[in-house]
């Protein structure tokens, strides 16, 4: 059966509505959301209420966590000080806008959701703030899936959708200096695992302007990346009217890839 996985909605209501419509048109009713309901965008309460209304199973994203905990996103995940200041401003703005009920909703979201062989997380099984970028060290990527005891790991947070298959792996080890005369050697085969990044509904960073999400068929194991057009102008106007940094609107309109993301894929926020 087909199921949809969405992530990083970022308070962009027109994008969320368009994606949910696209999912509905395919007759898909099973939807999982990987968090970041808020942040950057102008409609945090509206997006949370829509997710609640549709009863979509959701994990807590990095923004959801930070807004609730009153912490600012880890500065090490910003590429520049200006970006950091903008990010902090958006945090304050969002915190000020959110109703108590919606803050509670974000606070109570789970870190992960497990369905059979699938694990759904925002960043990585280690942290909502860890980026699993598509070119991350293959062994380290496999370790994330293996350690989480999953066969397919669904994540978001990078805002770049991709499907990564890690296969035909092996590692050989040798115990040196064990005190015994025979050299102990071992070779083991690594299991085939997949990482699926759902991209971003409300703040795409794949180089285009369309909202992205993925459709997974749990019978054929097939994963498809979907791109959906939405009324970008509407969101951009709302960003400006809300007094949020205009660069957030400019980025959506031009589909520029650069944004607040860590340079180092293995980086984990130590905060």
């Amino acid at each position: 059966m087909n199921q949809a996985v969405i992530s990083c909605l970022h308070a962009n209501l027109p994008a969320v509505e368009a994606v949910l419509k696209d999912i509905e048109l395919q007759g898909i009713t099973n939807i999982t959301c990987l968090g970041d309901l808020v942040g950057y965008g102008p409609q945090p309460n509206e997006v949370i209420e829509l997710i609640k209304e549709k009863k979509i199973a959701t994990c807590q994203g990095c923004w959801d966590e930070d807004v609730v905990d009153g912490l600012d996103a880890c500065d090490c995940s910003y590429p520049s000080q200006i970006a950091e200041r903008r990010g902090h401003f958006a945090h304050q703005w969002t915190t000020g806008k959110l109703t108590k009920e919606n803050k509670d909703f974000l606070a109570n979201l789970p870190y992960s959701i497990r369905k059979d062989k699938c694990l759904f997380v925002h960043g990585s099984p280690n942290s909502q703030h860890e980026y699993l970028l598509p070119d991350m060290d293959a062994f380290a990527a496999l370790e994330r899936v293996e350690n989480a005891k999953a066969e397919i790991l669904f994540c978001g947070h990078t805002h770049q959708p991709y499907i990564r298959e890690l296969a035909n792996g092996s590692i050989a080890v040798k115990v040196k200096n064990s005190g015994s005369k025979d050299i102990q050697k071992k070779e083991m085969n690594l299991p085939m695992r997949r990482i699926v990044n759902a991209g971003s509904v409300g703040e795409p960073r794949h180089g285009g302007t369309k909202a992205t999400y993925v459709v997974y068929n749990d019978i054929t194991n097939d994963v498809k990346i979907r791109e959906v057009e939405y009324d970008i102008e509407l969101t951009c106007k709302a960003i400006i009217n809300a007094g949020l940094p205009p660069i957030f609107a400019w980025r959506l309109k031009n589909g520029f890839e650069f944004a607040e993301r860590a340079e180092d894929a293995s980086h984990v926020c130590e905060r």
Partner: protein
Amino acid sequence: MIERWALISGLKGDLDTYELIQKDLKKTPGNITLFVLGDMIGPEKNCNKLLHRLINPKSNDLQPWCIYGWWEEQILLESGYRGNQRAEALRINKGEEVVKSLINAVDKSFLDWIAALQFGFVELDCGLIHGSSKDVGDDLTLDTPPLTLLDRLTRLQVNRLFTARSTQQFHLELTEGILNSEVHDLTGNHKKEQKVPQKAVIGVGAGKNYTLYDVGTDNTQFVRAGYQSEKKKNGFGLHF
């Protein structure tokens, strides 16, 4: 002169063992650098004398290069050096008594020195750390899945990781590794074959058990403090 590292950990306030090791190292040939990979303190003994000695080495002591370990992290947590967090994991696992003993074992005047210690050292292509760069309490052993070991090496971007948390002594080489990665994104398919260069994880031991590492030959020697005198007794020779 041969470049050699001495790696010790888990002294937990035991000045006698530290002195024994210093004595050993004086008789060990080579140009030796002494690294203390954390757990200088612990709840069992008063640690003030050892801390004083580490901070103010005697004139004929090898200068110790210290990083903090799991027990240092616990005292820093409990003493409010980590914001609102306290040493809850310790409290739950070992009880309130142990938390109190730890606090009593270390004079408050040492806390700033402990708080200023580094998390680890990177020397040449080696990482020296108490647990791993993932966590100071990361318990790496011979039985840790190689994929996990590889991840810990990757995080630090080193070829050799010296770790102390498990208290075990081992030298595990990852001799070979291969993994195929295929990424499908909106621009198409990207295939890559990744190989692992030779890497190693070394458990340095704790207390009287410590490790000598020969930088030039990449050989480890697992030693028990006082071995020089034991050597005479049982005729067991050490070959460098």
